[in-house]
Amino acid sequence: MTLFQSINEFVVRFANTNGTGSASANNMFAKAIMRMGLPVSAKNIFPSNIQGMPTWFEVRISEKGFLGRRDGAPELVVAMNAQSIEEDIQSVQPGGFLLYDSSRILPQRLMRKEINFLGMPISDICRAEYSDPRQRQLFKNVIYVGALAALLDIDFQVLKDLVSDQFKGKDKLIRPNIYALELGFEFANKQFSCPLPICVERRDLIGDRILVDGNTASGLGAVYGGATVVGWYPITPSTSVIEKFASYCQRLRIDPANGQKNYAIVQAEDELSAIGIAMGGGWNGARAFTATSGPGISLMTEFLGLAYFAEIPLVLMNVQRAGPSTGMPTRTQQSDMLTCAYASHGDSKQVLLIPSTPKECFDFSAQAFDLADRLQTPIIVMTDLDMGMNIHLSDPFGWDDKHEYDLGKVLDADDLEKASDFGRYLDVDGDGVCYRTLPGTHPNKGAFFTRGTSHNEYAAYTEKGEDYIKNMERLEHKFAMGVKRLPAPEITINTKAKRVGLVYYGSTDEAIPEAVSLLCEQGVKVNTLRIRAFPFSPQVASFISEHDGVFVVEQNRDGQVKKLLCNELTIDPASMCAVLHYDGLAITGQFIAESVQAQLSVQTDQAAG
């Protein structure tokens, strides 16, 4: 049998059972790789279930820096789930390795000649070492990480340091965890010929980057953006945005003098209420937000229309998952793009921010509050399950202490005293954004009625056609002017030929370098544009029109952003092709390259024929 060989370029898949505490061990493994100076990414593949079902965690190690999910079989599988063992054995790449719990003997029929079986009686070891059932379960995970350290040649000190960092403050846990790592390490060293032909070697490719999930970044961004009022209702995969916000608030937002909270997080009865709470907070001058996903977005649309029309700032973080309806709740997609861009009935339009890395989740979430206040409208931060719940290598978070919150056009009592005339919807500056006042500001000036019914410049109810049109046109104008404040697209020029362009957005970013490199190997040079916001910047239209053909890469069935581009820009729809991936797993570089290549060759054939 040929052994698969590779240094710093392979995939390890962990097969676990939901609810057995494997997540922290798997994360420790990924972090150890990063601390070895190597680019690494990890994808959770988990079912919509709480306990007992199979889950997988796939770690890609890539010295070349290709961190999107990789197609094809993993080189090493750690099979810890008896339920899925058959499938897991089948999943190993020929020449690859299977580390499994050999406490129970594998049936002969499951053996494959083309792969290497590394049996380790993990359950037996734990049974001998620990009397407590919970410990027996938990330390199984730590033990296999220890074994991997020997098999893959991970510096053991790196793991020890990780444990010490992880349990800082809970020092009692450090020793037993290191002991469990050692158990695994020593067993593997003795029983197997370590290291394997696939292994890691130290490099210095990480710089100051961090390994973090998007939802943590978004929650933290909200803390930095000054959010104080939160309404929410649990839904996967958005829940951890709020949980992280809450845990950072507990650390950073409690007044040390009196223990009082400088925030209020209301767990609402449903999403209708969650966004209502955010709206009430925004109306009353607090920075307020909510987070949701799929079905929650549907419920929130009535309020989004009100916020658009009555011009109330609020932030909504939508962590997309596979729809429609309940769809695949724990699988990723980018399929709420159209729903969110045009959320609500009537002529309405919402501002979308579309981050691609945890750093951008942090930045955009913080900026969203400035934008919401500045533009007096909801800002929807569009991420997805892959971005939100998986850890990604990212530039570190940064904050400019000189940055001052942009609270937008709010008149205080002095302003009102000086002003000769106040009309809530008067376009004083010609940018479509009007001055607002907060309740309680002035005894007899500046009060107005906020309503979702048609209103004139003085916020009075009106059904006069011309007043209605004037207001609607101002709202359009406000959006057109507002585009300048939104993050510009990121353009990468690899070729002057401008034959093919790739347009993409969000978490797809991770797969792009590999796609571009594969295409280049095949002789196709492409330029790329990453959309970062809606309404679109004029640069998007120019990029598309400058290229002979543009591929819009998306993780949905209907090519939603391609449709949005056709709808919003004056470009020839025929100049764009779709690359669509929507099976619920993150898109891969190979998929993009193959799909582009296939469509290009069809075009060439047609041209020839």
Partner: protein
């Protein structure tokens, strides 16, 4: 259509402690049907706020959608108002209250708004113990959509199209009691002498105060068969307690020798004085209040007055431990942890 009232004030109009006249508590001219019960509620609210000498701009008035929800336009011109969406005023009021705990929150809703589309939000705002006064103008029908039966309409009550309500009604006072409201009252829009003191007490109550106000819809539900008509209500009313409200700054007179009267001290120090019609009625017993409502209902009677009060109630912010300073007043220095903290946070991800 929107009407503007003349600004002229008679120089000898009576002023309150703030130097404001009753006119300062009015709103735009009503566009509701002439004789609509909701207009009487409007004027009771204005009167209550004037008598309490509340600064109008420190009040936020929020509503859902419906004729009743239009009512806030017609009181307190100098207060900010918010007509939200149908049935969802409670959540917006919650967010607003989270942002600024110092304002006074008046919620105005209808029976359709609160007992149907918004029943969930109603239940939960009560549970959350939001410090607000929540009023439902209860006419048993949907006024704005022209006469459909509401969920508060009693079984057998007929809509304008002649259909009788087939199902048991929702009694919002019983619901509010069950959901944990700490002030529950019912009144009648046509009885200002009862309604005004109740509104005053409810505003002074810390925590969630609910008043269900029977408010006949003259256009769609004032026929003699309807138990929401003026005549019916007048003939079938039973009062739990007559409330009198003594603001904190007024001298409290002693009314001695009346065993069926009780003074309840509200959190701002003002006094709610109850004289019970029914000598056994105990306004501190949640369960008995529910039983009494149901018992009278089975006799075709309507219990009004203050049904329940817990003068020691907490509100959401106390339970949550929110900062005393309104959240919307906190500055960036307090809210933003700054770049040095971010450095250590970055470390935790390496």
């Amino acid at each position: 259509m929107s009407y503007i009232k003349p600004q002229f004030k008679h120089p000898r109009l009576q002023v309150n402690d703030l130097g404001l006249t009753h006119r300062d508590y009015e709103g735009a001219l009503s566009t509701l049907c002439a004789g609509c019960g909701h207009d009487s509620i409007t004027s009771a609210v204005a009167q209550a706020c004037a008598e309490l000498s509340l600064p109008p701009h420190k009040i936020a008035k929020l509503s859902g959608i419906g004729c009743s929800s239009k009512a806030p336009t017609y009181f307190l011109n100098n207060a900010h108002g918010f007509n939200t969406v149908h049935g969802r005023m409670p959540s917006v009021a919650t967010g607003a209250n989270m942002a600024n705990r110092e304002l006074i929150y008046l919620g105005m809703s209808g029976d359709g708004d609160s007992a149907s589309i918004g029943f969930g939000q109603f239940a939960h705002v009560v549970r959350r113990r939001l410090n607000m006064l929540y009023m439902v103008a209860n006419n048993g029908v949907y006024g704005l959509t022209k006469g459909q039966l509401a969920a508060t309409a009693e079984q057998g009550m007929k809509s304008k199209s002649g259909e009788a309500s087939l199902f048991t009604d929702i009694d919002l006072c019983v619901s509010a009691l069950q959901f944990g409201a700490t002030f529950v009252a019912r009144s009648f829009s046509g009885d200002k002498s009862q309604l005004v003191p109740l509104i005053k007490a409810a505003i002074s109550h810390k925590g969630f105060a609910f008043i269900d106000i029977i408010s006949p819809c003259v256009t769609f539900n004032n026929n003699p068969d309807s138990n929401r008509s003026y005549d019916y209500v007048h003939d079938h009313i039973t009062t739990a307690a007559v409330a009198d409200f003594v603001p904190v700054k007024q001298e409290i007179r002693c009314e001695n020798g009346q065993s069926d009267s009780e003074d309840i001290c509200l959190h701002d120090g003002s006094i709610l004085r109850l004289s019970r019609i029914d000598a056994d009625y105990d306004a501190h017993d949640r369960i008995k209040a529910m039983t009494k409502i149901e018992q009278l209902k089975s006799e075709g009677k309507i219990l009004t007055g203050l049904m329940y009060i817990d003068p020691e109630a907490d509100d959401y912010h106390e339970i949550n431990g929110t900062s005393d300073a309104p959240l919307n007043s906190l500055k960036q220095e307090t809210l933003c942890p700054g770049s040095h903290v971010l450095k250590t946070i970055n470390e935790s991800f390496r």
